[in-house]
Symmetry: C2
Subunit: 236 residues, 2 copies
């Protein structure tokens, strides 16, 4: 692996690989291997397979400990929001992984280096390489630095169904009436804004705006969860 990337890993994340070839493997696409048949290279896919399971456990462990009273259903939904391939490509970019992927010339020309799907894969293969080289504690350390703080920054909110959350949270002791009402709708057709309020047993608990009624309802439900103090239990 290039020295610059070693420096980034070491300085930003305090990770120093024992077996550099694992890091090479994690960042090498099949197209590069095919173009260098004389070198004995491996591509990232097997490490991606392993990293997927490692990341899933590290996230599960973290939210299990952080939320000692959260029921299984909500844990499962929170995990699904965090183990989301759309987020992986954002993590990969933040860690500058895109700069160090080894691609074949055709893939490079086609712009694969900044393709979300490739960055997702590389995020997982990196996790797999760290696990093999350093063990699961170092993966936890990396996630504590890079991933978990984003819970509080609302990164995973878009994958979270706040309406279902709200419904389950307040109906835990029996049925309660929940209504979403459209308060306002304005703007031109191509930039329409909707404003929605959520009422729980006829009491307004949250208001939300969005570019669709559905989005506005989600924002309103999130507001109600915050107001009820449920956000603390869910994401903090």
């Amino acid at each position: 692996m290039q020295k610059k990337f070693d420096d980034i890993l070491s300085e930003k994340y305090n990770i120093k690989f024992n077996d550099e070839s694992l890091l090479d493997e994690a960042f090498t696409q099949a197209s590069y291997v095919n173009e260098h048949p004389d070198q004995d290279l491996k591509f990232y896919e097997r490490l991606e397979f392993l990293g997927d399971a490692v990341y899933q456990l590290v996230v599960s462990d973290y939210i299990f400990i952080r939320h000692p009273e959260m029921p299984q259903g909500r844990l499962t939904r929170l995990r699904a929001a965090m183990v989301n391939r759309h987020s992986f490509s954002r993590f990969a970019r933040e860690c500058q992984f895109n700069e160090f992927i080894r691609l074949g010339k055709g893939e490079e020309k086609a712009g694969a280096r900044n393709r979300d799907s490739l960055l997702c894969d590389i995020f997982e293969s990196f996790i797999g390489a760290v696990y093999l080289d350093q063990g699961i504690e170092t993966v936890k350390h990396f996630c504590n630095m890079v991933i978990f703080p984003k819970l509080d920054q609302g990164w995973f909110d878009e994958f979270f169904d706040h309406k279902t959350e709200l419904q389950e949270a307040i109906q835990i002791n029996g049925p309660v009436k929940i209504e979403y009402k459209l308060l306002d709708e304005n703007g031109p057709d191509n930039d329409r804004q909707f404003k929605v309020a959520v009422y729980v047993d006829d009491q307004e608990l949250g208001v939300g705006e969005g570019q669709s009624k559905k989005n506005a309802e989600q924002v309103a439900a999130k507001g109600a969860l915050n107001r009820l103090g449920i956000k603390d239990q869910k994401l903090q």
Copy 2:
């Protein structure tokens, strides 16, 4: 937890819990908690959530190391065959877990104790409890004793698509003709037997029998994989 179960865990699997309450939680269904509101009991579902991810990683790690050349796609299919809830209930019965579940009276009467779906859950919650109390190495030790030997005994074969395996294995260097031919069909309508052969580039490589053409083809493909020495790479 009952002393008898502690003895089984200790004698058969060399596992001794530090925190017995985790073991209690792993084996307690919500119906039992509801019937004992005076006791501060927890039911198994959160541990099941955690155990699911732990087991997935332990299996992934095991097959990744065991098959250093197996491509990602086959690793993924092998994992899916092993992380199969139908198998979990069989493991749970083998370990006598069914005898020690704590159920409410209604559930007991309804026969929940031997219900596959409950046994699956309990298998996962047990894995979660072992992980929390003892760490992942003890889960690996348990799987090495109880689960992984079953790979060689063919337990997961029924979840494995041998036809796809065969096709991928022999077409790795380009297209090859694979044909399945019905050799024989006999027996009464309610107990029909089919005999099928698989031909690879017109050479017969395997014969299989089954109660449907599809089953007979799978058995024939498995025979061809064995004959080609591919079984070693896949399951051993």
